[in-house]
């Protein structure tokens, strides 16, 4: 408790000098920036042609589109990347104050005082994301040409991939929260379609549904936050909100921060909305690499960094971000240790690494650049490893169980070497990209709060352990292959993207040269006063490296030196069983949400049947019964009618008399 009260609870306590800069997207556009919309437009066109037009073609044209559609999909992604590169270089040539470019496309809707434009905002943050999405995206498109070669629905797959890229770019480039939400939902849709791409597998269909439903919970948070912005500020433009945020009252800001965090948790698989990510590995491996490692799942981090003008003003929400992030980074790391499915182990690792990014994002302006830095390096090395895992699966008849691998370093040399680069990057081997980014995050965390910093350090150790375990079980130790498996290296179209990504994994650290990324992002995230860490930076680095070495050594002695059983041992400790069961994430969801939900629905249904239906149907039945009785009066005898006529007439006369006399 003593540790906690230090400064996590009040990260802004001292001075409060670090105010988030106002977003001003109208800095002189023009020139090459007029083509900004095309970055989204190209993949969108590709998606439209592949999904909207191709199904209506007939005959040989259709056959040729089905056969060559992937080339179109890849071309749009690559062109988009080239354009992003040009835009980036143009932005690089400008002064720091002029690095925010806005483009107004059209007014999306306008009602009352509410006006939402299709506006784009291109600033240093968006520029980096654009490069990551289109760059890694293009490589994965290329890789998927080989990976999906024998799939009869390859054209559709590339259509979905293009749709995803377009939606993700919309998310990043939009200049207001409503446009961001459009992209947010778009990537959710694409993720759903791609996880369930092999829909003939019930597990894939279920995983897609699970991802969709859990994401809805987060989306509710984001949409409520947007509604709250409308109500409070009357606008959702980044510019307007960042200008007016200072005038809102504290409770509103806290609510905004927490709701945005809920949205981020859903999309980025942070505790408590983490359960969908491991199941999402049912999708084809390029999808796991692109959507569930490199780009989409990092949208939550983007949201927090982009909303820095809100988080700067709400220490409560910032603390919540840090807590969620710390829990998630350990949660994911523990999952990674227990999984035998290579993709699920990597997914646990993704969850954990996003935890690191969120942690950095929760630290305020000090952490934002490092969150983005780690996001980029992670995008490189995790995409690299996922594609490597896909290459391994490709050679092993789509078996994902690491207990059936072993000694693949000889059989797949290129995959092995590229994977090793990613491995060294993620554990933070000195000099590799992950070393720089993770080191900075742990250092900032230690400077901010000792407990959080130590937990992040522990996470680094566990990361080293599970990644070494994965590496050893896959590429070293003894052969445990299935009888009919003949591992072979993947084709060039798959290995070339691996090589490029491996190079990026190694060299990603150059972004930090001379604190380049910190200066670059300053117009977006604001200037940070540096907290002095409790120990000199070099000592912290040495400690981190030592902890990592410890993790690697532990894995070597526990996995590498022993015989790996082909079947997962069952007589294991409680901790292992818990980790294998996703730390009971599904059980918790089931107990906390699903069962009460089912109970509530059951109760409501019973009330509806008994109460509402009972009243309505009972009333109708009572009326019907009375009518049946009344019907008997119509007996067909004229004289009884005459009698009732007489009775009626008498009643009328009596009534008249009563009125007249009374």
């Amino acid at each position: 408790m003593n540790l906690l009260s230090h400064s996590v609870l009040l990260p802004l306590a001292e001075g409060g000098a670090s105010h988030a800069p106002v977003v001003a997207p109208d800095t002189a556009a023009g020139g090459v920036f007029d083509l900004l919309w095309l970055v989204i437009g190209l993949p969108l066109l590709g998606a439209f042609l592949l999904l909207g037009v191709a199904p209506f073609l007939r005959g040989s044209l259709k056959a040729s589109v089905d056969k060559h559609g992937h080339l179109l999909g890849t071309a749009t992604a690559v062109l988009s990347f080239v354009l992003s590169l040009v835009l980036f270089l143009s932005l690089l040539g400008r002064d720091a104050e002029e690095r925010q470019v806005g483009q107004h496309l059209w007014t999306w809707f306008e009602t009352g005082s509410l006006r939402v434009g299709m506006d784009l905002l291109y600033d240093p943050l968006a520029a980096l994301f654009l490069l990551l999405i289109t760059g890694v995206g293009s490589l994965i498109h290329v890789y998927a040409i080989g990976y999906m070669e024998h799939d009869p629905r390859r054209r559709r797959f590339f259509g979905y991939l293009n749709l995803f890229v377009a939606a993700m770019l919309t998310l990043i480039l939009s200049a207001n929260f409503v446009g961001l939400f459009l992209g947010w939902e778009g990537v959710g849709l694409a993720s759903y379609l791609l996880i369930g791409f092999w829909q003939h597998k019930p597990s894939a269909a279920a995983a897609a549904k699970k991802a969709f439903v859990i994401n809805r919970v987060g989306d509710i948070g984001l949409s409520l936050a947007i509604a709250l912005m409308f109500a409070t500020f009357g606008t959702t433009d980044f510019g307007g909100v960042s200008e007016l945020a200072g005038e809102a009252d504290q409770a509103t800001l806290n609510a905004l921060g927490l709701l945005l965090l809920l949205g981020a948790c859903g999309k980025s698989a942070q505790v408590p909305l983490q359960a969908w990510l491991l199941d999402a590995m049912e999708g084809p491996t390029p999808v796991s690499a692109l959507i569930h490692a490199a780009t989409m799942v990092t949208a939550g981090v983007y949201l927090v960094v982009r909303s820095n003008f809100i988080y700067e003003l709400t220490p409560v929400a910032q603390t919540a971000v840090v807590v969620v992030a710390t829990v998630t980074l350990l949660w994911g790391a523990v999952l990674g240790c227990a999984k035998d499915d290579i993709k699920k182990a990597l997914a646990g690792s993704t969850m954990s690494q996003i935890g690191y990014m969120m942690l950095a994002a929760g630290l305020g302006p000090v952490g934002y650049p490092f969150a983005i830095f780690h996001l980029l390096t992670h995008g490189f090395f995790k995409a690299n490893m996922f594609l490597g895992a896909g290459s391994v699966m490709h050679g092993m008849n789509d078996d994902v169980d690491m207990r059936h691998y072993g000694a693949l370093n000889k059989a797949m040399p290129v995959t092995f070497i590229t994977f090793a680069m990613g491995y060294l990057a993620i554990i933070g081997f000195p000099g590799f990209s992950g070393f720089w980014s993770k080191d900075k995050i742990i250092e900032s965390a230690l400077a901010d709060n000792l407990l959080v910093g130590l937990l992040a350090l522990l996470g680094a150790g566990i990361t080293a352990f599970y990644m070494t375990r994965l590496m050893l079980m896959t590429f070293f130790t003894s052969k445990r292959w299935e009888a009919d498996v003949h591992p072979h290296e993947s084709p060039k179209v798959m290995t070339v993207p691996l090589i490029v990504l491996a190079a990026l994994s190694v060299l990603g650290g150059v972004l930090l040269l001379g604190d380049w990324i910190v200066t670059w992002l300053e117009p977006v995230t604001g200037h940070a006063e540096h907290h002095e860490p409790p120990l000199p930076a070099i000592v912290i680095t040495l400690i981190i490296t030592a902890v990592v070495a410890l993790g690697v050594a532990a894995a070597w002695f526990l996995v590498g030196k022993r015989e790996v059983p082909r079947e997962a041992p069952q007589d294991v400790s409680f901790a292992t069983r818990a980790a294998r069961a996703d730390l009971y994430g599904d059980a918790i969801n089931d107990a906390v949400v699903v069962r009460p939900g089912v109970g509530l629905v059951g109760g409501l249904t019973a009330f509806d049947r008994g109460g509402v239906d009972g009243t309505v149907m009972g009333g109708a039945a009572a009326l019907g019964g009375i009518s049946t009785l009344l019907r008997r009066v119509q007996n067909g005898f004229v004289r009884s009618y005459a009698l009732s006529l007489l009775g009626g007439a008498l009643l009328v006369v009596l009534a008249l008399l009563a009125v007249n006399l009374g």
Binding site: R632, N635, G636, F637, R639, A642, L646
Partner: protein, 97 residues
Amino acid sequence: MTQYVVLSAILFTIGCVGVLTRRNAIVVFMCVELMLNACNLAFVAFARQHGNLDGQITAFFVMVVAAAEVVIGLAIIMTIFRTRRSASVDDASLLKY
């Protein structure tokens, strides 16, 4: 004056009871006519008492309507009798619940 009204009331009651108790359609019909004429008597009597012609005119109207009604009514009774060989109002009780 009173006698006229009392006679009218008696005639009306006789007609009324007749309508309610008799089964033969012709007799019921005659009783209806009796009630109408009892009303006519009352109209004329009150017209004389009030010294204006309203009641007398109404009586003429009632006669006209009664004549028309007789024409239609007797025709219906004839038809029923032809098809059912009976003029009892209780026999013609098909139109019911």
